[in-house]
Symmetry: C2
Subunit: 230 residues, 2 copies
């Protein structure tokens, strides 16, 4: 576990964030940067070896699947170009199904929603995911909603990559109050100023969207095409 910098006066949260090969670092570090102020974060992986993200940078787990606490306030899954492999990993899915059966909040950012879906945790729940992947949700039992953060009962999901910061603040507000979330937002100086209006297909237009789909398709392994990177 990582040591908490806990806000005074709140009941600390117990959070598990799943690491798997090819996860996207920012999907996880966005909410981790919010929730680290609110309790203990377990970075959970199959082994204690560093886990390589889809950008190549490696994060060190704090516990294995087996050693992760059984009762969690928050269970979280990031997305990444390794998502499709993770969706076929029975050990990861069994872990998520087990902890998800008792977790207070079952959550994801980006394509992490597809992994929750593969673990059977989104059946009948509204969810968001990366803009390129909404069509993949219904086959997993989820109802896609094009929204930055979607809350349906105790399932809370964020859109692609950078949505993890908005997601983290919404989750913290829900679990420990708006004042806590605002305090963390201030310490993180979260008053974003995107230099361009290009964060969605609608803003970016069809030409840039085609280029993005081609690039992401080349980077994401599927059953038919090998991964662009090991």
């Amino acid at each position: 576990m990582t040591e908490p910098l806990t806000l005074p006066g709140i009941e600390p949260l117990s959070v598990a964030m799943l690491l798997y090969p090819g996860f996207t670092l920012l999907d996880l570090i966005g909410p981790q940067s919010v929730l680290c102020w609110a309790g203990t974060i377990h970075l959970v992986a199959k082994t204690m070896e560093p886990v390589t993200s889809d950008s190549g940078a490696q994060l060190v787990p704090t516990c294995t699947l087996a050693d992760c606490p059984r009762d969690l306030d928050v269970l979280f899954v990031p997305g990444g170009f390794g998502t499709f492999a993770a969706m076929q990993d029975r050990e990861l899915l069994a872990f998520l199904a087990d902890r998800g059966a008792r977790a207070g909040s079952i959550t994801s950012v980006c394509s992490g929603a597809l992994i929750l879906g593969a673990a059977g945790l989104l059946q009948g729940y509204r969810s968001t995911t990366h803009w390129a992947l909404h069509d993949a949700l219904p086959a997993l039992g989820a109802v896609p909603v094009k929204q930055r953060v979607v809350v349906d009962r105790n399932r809370i999901s964020g859109g692609g990559v950078t949505a993890g910061i908005d997601f983290g603040l919404v989750l913290l507000a829900q679990l420990r109050g708006e004042e806590s979330a605002k305090l963390v937002q201030l310490m993180m100086e979260y008053d974003p100023a995107p230099p361009f209006a290009a964060g969605t297909p609608e803003q970016a237009g069809p030409a840039l969207t085609e280029r993005a789909l081609a690039l992401m398709g080349a980077a994401a392994p599927t059953a038919d095409a090998p991964p662009a990177r090991a």
Copy 2:
């Protein structure tokens, strides 16, 4: 180095990002998530051991100070509660002064600007930093500017923590064109939607600002007070 997911048709960048104990993960992962599409990122530290961030989570370096390429397109320093210790680390400062003498762009997010200043790299340059630390810049020779991203010749700085995403996109646009930056912005789904207006002292108001200053003061070690965490 981490393997690139390089955008087609651009000349890859050589980027060094400094890791030191107590850096803030999101300060670094924001721009890393942008720049990983544009070349090779070296995560540089004194040794190859994992480096513990101020949230407790550990990132694995890809090279030591000695092994870092001598000629860089981008030299980058994140902030964090370990900033004040890093400002007194002669080995880190000598590394920054050396690479900074030849780097194409000399850059920081959050309190990383103070470390660049301590290395003598901001003398006479306009710079931004975390909102709580602007008053510390003049003693280091820099001219504080309250702006999310500040560009002064080849010095480019971002404000606190989350400003690293805006900073990364501005930097990429400057070095490899607006189309590259917009493409990455789209893949990162960067269309932020903060749930509250609390990202600056002006928005958050004086009561929350006082609480934030007290919390950050307790977490950041100074000469007079020991660190709140190891």
